[in-house]
């Protein structure tokens, strides 16, 4: 508890990410939160397939709808100059000497078209992209984003989840897999990134991409190797050569998968693994502090 309180004192935000999907981000995020032993926030930023709630029993609080602003053109004011279309990097508005055509599904909601329109013919209207909800489960405050089916614009929703973060309380942030925009939106401005991988050729390949990503963002980071013993030692060789710290190794234990499939947390179902996650907390605290200096 004493250790936990120190961590709380610094109110770190730890992102859990991975290049490859299915390596164990949610497992690490949930168990880290559960092992913390004091009030902590868990942000499910994997808005296309949020699943942290499946492992927690709690009371869901009201959901909030998330919108992005999309352009609406007033035809009576538009003189078809095409400035809006030239400005849009996402080809979400097309001008052809007539009223511009808007493609809402491509719009990132930056508002640039409305700003550059010399005729002030563009106003912004809200388009729903998903919802953010909160659930209280013991010490864990789960903040979860869920994108609507058919919407491809995840970063604004990820930012909406992060906007609910209460400052002064530590947070663990379960990022989407990969290295693209939704992941960047999730891990940006965090104190430390935990990259979860597995000791397989696929795990290594995508770990390299993820390492490049966090180095580009200049974030301190370390690696968790899940399913140790399932593959080979190339992930370890890579980490040694690249100077990347390995923070934790989780064994390839069938009972872990069985507990997961029942919706149980590893630290509850298999108490012998609890020490792994409290040890990980200690390392995160010291590495994140070093990263801040």
């Amino acid at each position: 508890m004493k250790e936990a309180k120190q961590w709380e004192g610094t109110a770190l935000t730890i992102a859990v990410a991975s290049g490859k999907g299915g390596t164990g981000k949610t497992t690490v995020s949930l168990n880290l939160a559960k092992a913390y032993g004091a009030p902590i926030q868990l942000l499910d930023c994997d808005v296309e397939e949020p699943n942290c709630h499946l492992f927690l029993n709690g009371t869901a609080e009201a959901e909030e709808t998330v919108f992005i602003p999309i352009p609406q053109v007033d035809e009576s004011l538009c003189n078809a100059c095409g400035e809006c279309s030239r400005f849009c990097q996402y080809n979400a508005i097309a001008s052809l000497g007539t009223k511009p055509l808007v493609f809402p599904e491509l719009c990132h909601g930056c508002g640039g078209c409305a700003l550059v329109c010399p005729q002030k013919a563009i106003i912004e209207v809200d388009k729903r992209i998903g919802a953010v909800g909160t659930m209280q489960a013991g010490d864990i405050t789960l903040i979860q984003g869920r994108i609507d089916v058919g919407v491809a614009m995840a970063p604004p929703l990820v930012r909406a989840v992060k906007a609910r973060l209460q400052p002064g309380m530590p947070a663990i942030l379960d990022a989407p897999p990969g290295t693209s925009c939704p992941v960047i939106a999730a891990i940006r401005d965090t104190d430390f990134v935990v990259l979860v991988t597995e000791p397989t050729p696929f795990g290594l390949h995508d770990l390299k991409l993820a390492v490049d990503m966090v180095r580009e963002l200049k974030l301190p980071f370390g690696v968790v190797v899940n399913r140790m013993g399932a593959g080979d030692d190339r992930v370890h060789l890579f980490c040694r050569q690249a100077g990347v710290p390995i923070l934790l190794e989780i064994p390839d234990d069938r009972r872990i998968a069985e507990a997961y499939s029942r919706g149980e947390l590893l630290v509850d179902a298999l108490p012998e693994y609890r020490g792994l996650f409290s040890g990980l907390q200690d390392k995160l605290r010291s590495l994140a502090a070093a990263g801040r200096r």
Binding site: S85, Y90, N91, A92, A94, S95, L96, G97, T98, L101, F103, L106
Partner: protein
């Protein structure tokens, strides 16, 4: 009248590109002067999204009144239709062959996109 073709090359003998938004080049043929110009589409070839929309704008700016390509997706179709450009799908091997099909009246104007986006 100007006709736009999609092509991976830069002559009438070059292959007709079956893609519209991410075609390498557009060949703009003028039926009055029987001459043509080549328009590079590299910017849209590498666009993250909305290649068809931007390509349709490019074609519209040339003043072309019809487009002959392999396929055309829904967003590009919407823009081309708004610009009043007639769309013809052709399975011809080369631009010259597609042009001949058009001149012989063998092509039928498309009423809808013939493929989904990102086909």
């Amino acid at each position: 009248m100007k006709i736009a073709f999609t092509t991976s090359g830069n002559s009438l003998d070059a292959p007709l590109d079956s893609r519209f938004g991410r075609a390498r080049n557009f060949l703009i043929y003028d039926t009055d002067t029987k001459s043509f110009a080549i328009l590079d589409n590299a910017q849209n070839l590498n666009a993250a999204q909305g290649a068809g929309i931007q390509a349709a704008e490019t074609v519209a700016r040339t003043g072309a009144q019809c487009l002959i390509s392999g396929h055309c997706g829904p967003k590009a179709f919407r823009v081309l239709a708004a610009a009043g450009i007639k769309i013809y799908n052709s399975d011809a091997a080369t631009v010259a062959e597609a042009l001949q099909q058009y001149l012989d009246g063998k092509l039928v104007e498309a009423r809808n996109a013939d493929v989904d986006g990102h086909w």
